[in-house]
């Protein structure tokens, strides 16, 4: 297997973007192509979840590859729920590692604010089990809420811990000019003041408004290349050293231990094993905090902290910038926003930014090893990646 490097990255602002879907994908891609200093690629993978349903557009990859005038390169779209981004990176990795392609553009894109918030919620809910979950009106916030309640009872996580994740990540987004939310929040304002219940109402008890990521439009892109090509291009050498992907039961209730996220555990373990790393080697991580609880749980399942102790590490500030393992220093999904198909690629974008030392205000000092966890479904399809900087 050949080594695979990230030679270019690009992103759009995550917000409500009133542009055609393929335009959003193209902006991010053009930035990545420019960053890598290339105008031709062998293959394009477009990660997207909602184009057919939300934007009434199918065969998105053909539109994107043509809009970028990259024809006749191969192009395909990858739909894998909120893990589409990670899955597309994996496909790109395989293409380069196998020796089949030398240069692959992976772009994730979503434009889900084209419809109103309720329809967007319903669109994401279609990833749940059609007859055992979806028909009941289950939404992703509902799944996360039921999971949170179990976690609270079993491990002593409180609404305060959740709010702490929310405050940490939303305020971290202030250091990320591309992030959707550019509004500081405080524990007092969302939890302690007499007005907190109005400012921060329940969306699905016990989860509140500020526990959930915003609905965003946006695109992110990375260029994957072979070692030879990476050296030729002369960009900082950032290698994707580990790739892990795992699945779990479609219906959440079928999982033996309802507080475990086994797909996260397995995907992370596989990525670390492939890279020959351990969780302790990681300097900066991007976890999939679509809901605040997920950052806490994932920080345990990927191996940064023992099971049930993620919230204690959070309390101690170990997951903040300057802590033992800074998580989501660019805002995470909570602050950066969550255009579902783009998220996995945006996580990679952030890690590469960090490993290049371009993080500015949010730079993790001496970051050499990065990690991403892209969580699809409610934990039934997860992609984890490790990134390493080579001197």
């Amino acid at each position: 297997m050949r080594d695979v490097y990230v030679a270019g990255i690009g992103i759009t602002t995550f917000t409500r973007l009133e542009f055609a879907l393929s335009e959003i994908a193209s902006y991010a891609s053009m930035m990545a192509l420019k960053d890598a200093g290339i105008t031709e690629v062998d293959q394009v993978y477009v990660a997207n979840m909602g184009a057919p349903r939300v934007n009434h557009q199918t065969a998105l990859a053909s539109a994107v590859v043509d809009s970028l005038s990259l024809t006749p390169a191969g192009a395909a779209a990858i739909e894998n729920g909120p893990a589409s981004g990670g899955s597309a990176i994996k496909a790109g990795f395989q293409a380069v590692a196998s020796g089949m392609d030398d240069v692959v553009l992976v772009v994730g894109v979503e434009r889900m604010r084209e419809v109103n918030g309720l329809e967007a919620t319903d669109f994401v809910a279609t990833l749940t089990h059609p007859i055992a979950e979806y028909i009941y009106g289950v939404t992703l916030p509902a799944h996360a809420a039921m999971f949170t309640r179990l976690y609270m009872d079993k491990y002593g996580v409180t609404e305060r811990h959740l709010a702490m994740v929310g405050v940490k990540n939303q305020n971290a987004a202030l250091n990320n000019e591309w992030a959707h939310l550019q509004q500081e929040i405080s524990l007092e304002g969302i939890l302690d003041s007499p007005e907190a219940m109005t400012n921060n109402p329940y969306v699905a008890e016990p989860l509140r408004f500020f526990d959930a990521c915003p609905v965003s439009d946006g695109g992110a892109a990375i260029i994957l290349v072979s070692e030879e090509k990476a050296k030729e291009l002369g960009r900082p050498l950032i290698k994707i050293s580990g790739v892990g992907q795992a699945t779990d039961t479609h219906a959440v209730h079928e999982r033996e231990e309802p507080t475990d996220l086994l797909a996260v555990r397995k995907a992370a373990a596989d990525a670390f094993e492939m890279a020959g790393l351990t969780p302790d080697d990681v300097d900066v991580a991007e976890l999939h905090d679509a809901f605040t609880i997920l950052e806490i749980v994932e920080s345990e399942e990927v191996g940064f902290f023992p099971k049930g102790e993620g919230h204690i590490a959070l309390e101690k500030g170990e997951t903040a910038l300057g802590g033992k393992i800074p998580i989501n220093v660019g805002g995470g999904l909570k602050g950066r926003g969550h255009p579902v198909g783009a998220t996995g690629v945006a996580q990679a974008w952030e890690i590469v930014t960090q490993l290049r030392g371009d993080g500015g205000e949010r730079q993790v000092e001496g970051a050499n090893v990065g990690f991403t966890c892209n969580f699809g479904g409610f934990g039934n399809n997860v992609v984890c990646l490790t990134f390493e900087k080579e001197a």
């Binding site: 007859i131 289950v138 939404t139 509902a142 309640r149 009872d153 989860l207 079928e254």
Partner: protein
């Protein structure tokens, strides 16, 4: 006629499944549809629950109770809750009713009430 929701019991190893799947999770037998249907018990205890405030547009109610119930036979299922103040561990009893209405189509599912 009392409506039922069915579990699927593998004819080779007796493992029960809900919801339906094509291949047994336990013995992975691959003979087409080697399952017997068995009605799921209606009684059980509430494992976890939530009240949802932002519902998909088809719903005409402002909020909706949802929960996962551990049924008498140890299997679990998700259902709607018609319970004012749910508590984890409480005894519940289900009945099969329309849980989602989309224009002409009504979908049946389990609605749990306190037992």
């Amino acid at each position: 006629m009392a409506r039922e929701i069915y579990a699927y019991k593998c004819r080779l190893c007796d493992t029960m499944h809900y919801p339906f799947r094509m291949v047994c999770k336990n013995c992975k037998q691959n003979d087409f549809f080697e399952f017997d249907t068995v009605p799921l018990p209606k009684e059980g205890k509430l494992l976890t629950f939530t009240r949802v405030y932002n519902l998909p547009p088809q719903y005409e109610v402002p909020t909706l109770g949802l929960g996962i119930v551990e049924l008498e036979n140890g299997m679990r299922m998700l259902g709607q809750l018609d319970i004012d103040e749910p508590k984890a561990g409480m005894a519940v009893k289900g009945s099969v009713e329309i849980v989602r209405q989309e224009t002409y189509d009504g979908y049946y599912g389990m609605v749990f009430r306190s037992a």
